[in-house]
Symmetry: D2
């Protein structure tokens, strides 16, 4: 895949009013900024304005630091408070992946990285089981095995502390729970807020909690799905980034549903992760705007 | 559309064991019965066998009554009890449709009937509001307005009694709740058991109850759906016949979701009704087998 | 459906360069224009910039005529030439529908209009067969029967002249070929350029020409589709507005494919028509940008 | 995934007539054969009957060889000629995969095999480029690099001869062209007839030949797809096993279409291969029946 030229990405949210687009685009035009991609949205219910802009880095006479600094004044003027970011596609994205025993999502992500479709650094894979160590290392990526005790709460706390340390050492842009099967404690949800992506194996809010395919089979639904969402302290209730479904029927056993559902889990997680890393996801009041 | 030749349809369920297919197919072959379509399924979890067979009427030396009678012995032998039916595609299907104010499902069904895609008799349309009377009558179909009081429970009981009388006068093969917006009382659920089809405007079990599109918008889901199910005394919990979904995003207001969802409601209801009228739906333990 | 407040819609295309967004948005902001919806796109291959903006009518101190006049200068400045429009959602859209014998698309459109989901005036329906006259008139819409001779070329020319006269009398925003089954002569394609929408019953460019479902059955495809496109003198080759598909399998006869395909034809045409009437479709070099 | 118990699979085609189902099922019942899954289909156009039956191996008093021998008489009696097979799920399926430089399909298949979702032996991977050697070997699978000259026809013939030898050494149940990018010569098409599966990166018959995503972009289609088909001497015209599509729009460059299309290529190939290896695909007159 040819690499697109370097760009600065501005994402921004503020109360809606007349002249926001003009203010931002005039600022960019003034400095010769060539907008390569731009998207706007106003949420009528909350009167909140959102935008995302991609500007060619070489069209501006200054770097990302100065762009960020100059943009601070505009953000303040428009009342954006903390709801904005300026990022640089020239900074390589770092990802840490948490796994358990089931490898389909990990295999899929590693394949995408190896074929450079997903052009990121997988800094580390951490598993509470060792099963996926070999394939990870075959891709030249470090694998850390952090065993989790089944019941002992203190042991679990210690294990999570170790996971946190291993993750935070890389300061990753995304922490991916690729069928991790452990519920993150509130302090990790807080620490990785807006960066931790989970793949849930149901079309939420259907079948929250454990064994969703068993629940789906029992209810006799005609489609099963998967949901990629940000992890919050509220289990399976974080802002939804992407969802999709696949058709099932009466001939499908739970095992068949599991198999068919995996194909959906993989693409839903891969899409959600890509959009997150490209700064396309803006969270607002428990919902997401995907630009 | 060319009319297919007349057929007898056998649907059948019994505990699984060796030789069921042989028993049924040998019986048919013995009398020269030409099987035009056949489907089998065994539910491993409950060890239950299901089949549906379409036989060309003119290949058998007797009529549907005698086929039914002769088949009774086989059904008894195989332990099918009440779980079987023999129907005749030569008997025209009668349908009664219950509506309220929203016409999209009714318009859709009437269009399908008018273009003979759905080759059935709509015996009557009954509305708790008069809004859809004109279009119904323009199709040459009787419309009955049965007003429902908003709160008075006795008035509601009386209204339902009148609806029941109007419906039962036609002894319909299907009672279609095409966005009827009134919860059927248990006695009507019982009376029309296995014949009353509802269209629910969500991908059940997500968003049971009222205003599902509002619920969907609040949760920020990326797909909305619709569910066609048999009506049971358990609200929105009857056996699911068909479901489908359509993609929505952050730009869609509740009104947009309602509009997009309608396209799904229409096709899901139309498919479910067709399958029901063609005796393709077998109910077993709260789930459906669709042949 | 609640009616959204009146808006002016600007659609615009010009060679890409720095400052276009700033120029347009500053002009609007200067006059207090509140942008309700905005979309931008740059086609990298041809370096062409596209935008669509919805502005609240009551936020501007002048009407659509003056907005159009004032915008002329900007369009000239940016080199847009004829590639721009300013329209007013307060002007009710007029549609003329051309049909033959098959009614499914017409029934669907009339149902959408009757339920005000598609809030337009169907000024007239014109059929080369009289079959759909009754249902059209039941909706209170004039129906004109213009017979087309099967072979006589002069008679055909005369028939098309009559159709043109009937259509042009309404100066419609859209001429919808809802399974019209007659190939428009080049002079009508030219006269209605950018306003005539056809629904083709295949996933173009597969199966151009006649009897696409027969072609699909013969090739053994696993999905059939439909395509809504602008009519051009090049048969089935006009710019594509919308497409969709539905799954078929070996059990589906041509008649089954026809039936399943109709559900796709209906939604694809309805979506394409809605986008066209909302000025969401910009044509550029044989392709469409859908905002 | 739990391994299902061993089964014998009968696939069968013959001219349709009364009593075929009875003949086969009576034969099985006579020997105590428990049918676990059964499917029937009659193609009305050609009056051809198809069936596929899965019988529990432990329910029969003899092995697969004797079943095959005994079934020969029935097949002869019913005029099936060469159109039938009896296979044993206890015999592990062997697959050889041919690749070039693009790894997404290979990564996907290896991931499915590694997670035992696709429980087969990949006997070898053969590439005309060495790029995918490492990942193949990391999975413990032999990789053979057979360079293909760009133009020299004799060198190409020799390369194909080497590929044939390497493939045939394993007598594989399937030869998978996982984006192999070389057109098989007629003699290999013949030698691997009914066993060689290709994944084509378009929704055939749209965009046959080279660079289908470029063709799709130029035509402005709103969906791109992929097709898994048996390889025949007629390029891109073999019997279609599976197809699917994904939505694209004006913002998608050719590179974006390539990326989105890959997700479809992977699942379409994986589904097609699974069905082939489970003896679910019956070819008849250039089309497939998928049971």
């Amino acid at each position: 895949m040819p690499q697109p030229e370097r760009r600065y990405v501005i994402t921004f949210g503020c109360p809606d009013r007349t002249g926001i687009v003009a203010r931002i685009s005039s600022f960019l035009a003034e400095h010769g900024g060539l907008i390569v991609e731009a998207a706007y949205h106003t949420d009528q219910a909350t009167n909140w304005f959102f935008t995302r802009q991609e500007v060619r880095a070489d069209s501006l006479p200054f770097g990302v630091e100065e762009l960020r600094e100059r943009f601070t004044a505009i953000a303040r003027e428009l009342g954006a408070q903390a709801n904005w970011r300026v990022t640089d596609t020239g900074e390589r994205r770092r990802v840490v992946i948490l796994v358990s025993k089931e490898g389909h999502c990990l295999y899929d992500l590693l394949g995408r990285v190896a074929s450079r479709e997903l052009d990121v650094d997988v800094a580390a894979v951490i598993g509470n089981h060792p099963d996926l160590a070999n394939i990870t290392r075959a891709h030249g990526i470090p694998f850390h095995h952090v065993p989790f005790p089944a019941t002992d709460p203190e042991g679990k706390t210690a294990a999570f502390a170790q996971v946190k340390q291993l993750v935070d050492a890389h300061d990753p842009h995304a922490v991916v729970l690729a069928r991790f099967m452990q519920v993150l404690p509130p302090e990790l949800c807080a620490a990785w807020s807006g960066r931790a992506l989970n793949i849930h194996h149901s079309f939420l809010p259907s079948f929250v909690g454990a064994r969703p395919y068993h629940q789906a089979r029992a209810r006799g639904v005609k489609l099963v799905g998967a949901t990629c969402h940000y992890v919050t302290a509220d289990l399976d209730a974080g802002p939804i980034v992407e969802q999709d479904v696949i058709r099932v029927n009466h001939t499908d056993s739970v095992a068949d549903m599991v198999r068919k559902g995996r194909d959906i889990e993989k693409v839903v997680l891969a899409r959600g992760l890509r959009w997150h890393l490209e700064d396309r996801v803006l969270v607002h009041g428990g919902q997401t705007v995907i630009f």
